[in-house]
Amino acid sequence: MSEENLKYSETHEWARLDGDFVVVGLSAFAIEQLGDVVYLELPNPGDNVSQGASFGLVESVKAASDIYAPVDGSVAEVNYDVADNLDLLKTDPYGAAWLIKIEPGDPSQLESLMGGDEYEKFCASQVDE
């Protein structure tokens, strides 16, 4: 369900350090839980984001969910392709369905996130509830 070199938040975003940037997306677990995603709202390049604060919106038929930034920083790049092709969220959540690249204020904030194993356990505990 998750990939090794990724970090995960409790709100089901994944983050990956890629050179000077932090790439952010939604985990396969999040997509599975949402069901059919029918709408995605993304920020604009240059927008500031802060760890734990909403930067976007993902909506299924049933409900709307905020997307939270895993680190502080400013939005360097936005993947608008995924908003036009929402199936990517299902078919390639950790690749083509990346959402934004953040120029982080403090990359070490990534260390506060979960690793893959920990995240899998976290997801399992969510399902049990």
């Binding site: 069901g35 059919d36 029918v38 709408y39 709202e41 909506e59 038929v61 049933k62």
Partner: protein, 409 residues
């Protein structure tokens, strides 16, 4: 209390259903294909819904008709054997305790189908009211009778292929018949909650529910969950208790006549006589007539009416979102989501559905009665105003056998 299971619980799991607790029942919210695919399948071919969670009461006895005339708003005496009607359990102030369907399959008894979420409340209300009538017997048949909905253009052909005796009800909404399938008597009605012109609901002994389900899916009926049931009814502009009946987003009771379908569910015919809520409902009906004629003088009786809405801007309106006209609050969204539709072509032989799908956000909204069709409005969605428009309908389904999207020009 542990959630109840319908006889089809195992079948739902086998079909990859995501199960949720709905009104005390473990029900499929969606199957493996997902809500969008299920919605589209129902519109183009045939959707199969387990609706065995709905409340079902048999009412019989010499006083049954007089009792039903008192507790329901429609004229039950107008029902011949083999007919059904949409109806409402109204309270004295002209609000809805529930909306319901009344079926008359046989001479001596009526079958009342109510919302699962209101079943206990309805039963208590009916029992209390029955106390003033002689010879009324009520029986909760919810666990003996399973209930399936078979909806969509192919559903008639699929059911036809399974008939051993009898014939499907005449091709007119609300007609009923008795048929034999799987060696068992099945009650069939041309009713449904999807907006499909070709629609059936079946009542059958719980013991054959699995066999009938299997037979229907083998013929091509696709299992559809509660998620798509909601998007289908919303696209068709059909009300849901808790959203379009009951309390409004500001906590006030919604008058029954705010809902356009009330005209089909409330009768003031001579044979109907007096009934619970009649005084308030007569007042509402008069106010609605006046509003339609442009007379706004009794606007306080029906300050807001339900309208269908299409969202033109980016975003999805949801229950409770404020609706604005020139920055002034004119009402609220009561139901809203994004629904899929089939692209289609107008041909000399009628509309033909294509193979590509589109998506659009639609809503039902309770709006100031002065608002008109075609009017542009804004909906405040998560703090942002998005452009929308009041429409007559989002789904064309009066021409049959298929329904198709009415798209904004």
């Amino acid at each position: 209390m542990e959630a109840k299971k319908t006889p089809l619980y195992e079948r739902h799991l086998a079909a990859g259903a995501k199960m949720v607790d709905f009104a005390g029942w473990l029900m499929p919210i969606q199957y493996a294909e997902g809500i969008v695919a299920e919605h589209l399948t129902t519109r183009k071919s045939c959707g199969l819904f387990d609706v065995s969670h709905m409340g079902r009461f048999i009412i019989r006895g010499g006083g049954a008709l007089a009792f039903l005339q008192h507790v329901l708003t429609n004229d039950a005496s107008a029902l011949d054997i083999g007919q059904s009607q949409y109806t409402i359990l109204a309270n004295a102030s002209g609000g809805a305790i529930d909306d319901a369907y009344l079926y008359r399959f046989v001479d001596h008894e009526y079958l009342l189908v109510v919302n699962a979420s209101n079943k206990d409340k309805d039963w208590a209300h009916l029992e209390e009211q029955a106390g003033s009538f002689v010879d009324v017997v009520m029986e909760d048949v919810g666990s003996d009778l399973a209930m399936l909905a078979v909806q969509g253009p192919q559903s008639g052909a699929i059911l036809e292929a399974l008939l051993e005796k009898g014939s499907l009800p005449p091709d007119k909404r609300n007609c009923l018949s008795e048929v034999q399938i799987e060696g068992t008597k099945v009650l069939a009605g041309r009713t449904g909650y999807t907006g499909e012109p070709v629609c059936f609901e079946l009542f059958l002994p719980a013991a054959i529910a699995v066999d009938l389900w299997d037979a229907l899916t083998e013929k091509g009926a696709a299992p559809i969950g509660l998620g798509a049931r909601d998007t289908l009814r919303l696209e068709a502009g059909l009300p849901l208790y808790g959203h379009e009946f009951g309390g409004d987003p500001e906590g006030r009771e919604i008058p029954v006549f705010a809902c356009p379908l009330a005209a089909f569910a409330v009768s003031f015919a001579e044979g109907k006589g007096d009934f619970l809520g009649k005084t308030a409902l007569v007042r509402q009906a008069r106010a609605l007539d006046a509003i339609k004629k442009g007379d706004r003088s009794c606007g306080d009786i029906l300050p807001r009416l339900f309208r269908q809405v299409v969202i033109l801007g980016r975003g999805i309106a949801r229950h409770g979102d404020p609706v604005l006209l020139d920055n002034r609050l004119v009402g609220h969204v009561t139901s809203g989501t994004m629904v899929p539709y089939w692209e289609f072509q107008q041909t000399p032989k009628g509309v033909v559905l294509g193979d590509s799908k589109g998506m659009r956000a639609v809503a039902l909204a309770l709006l100031d009665h002065r608002m008109d069709f075609g009017q542009a409005i804004s909906i405040r969605v998560r703090g942002k105003d998005i452009e929308a428009r009041i429409v007559h309908k989002n789904l064309e389904n009066r021409k049959g056998p298929i329904s198709y999207a009415v798209l904004p020009k």
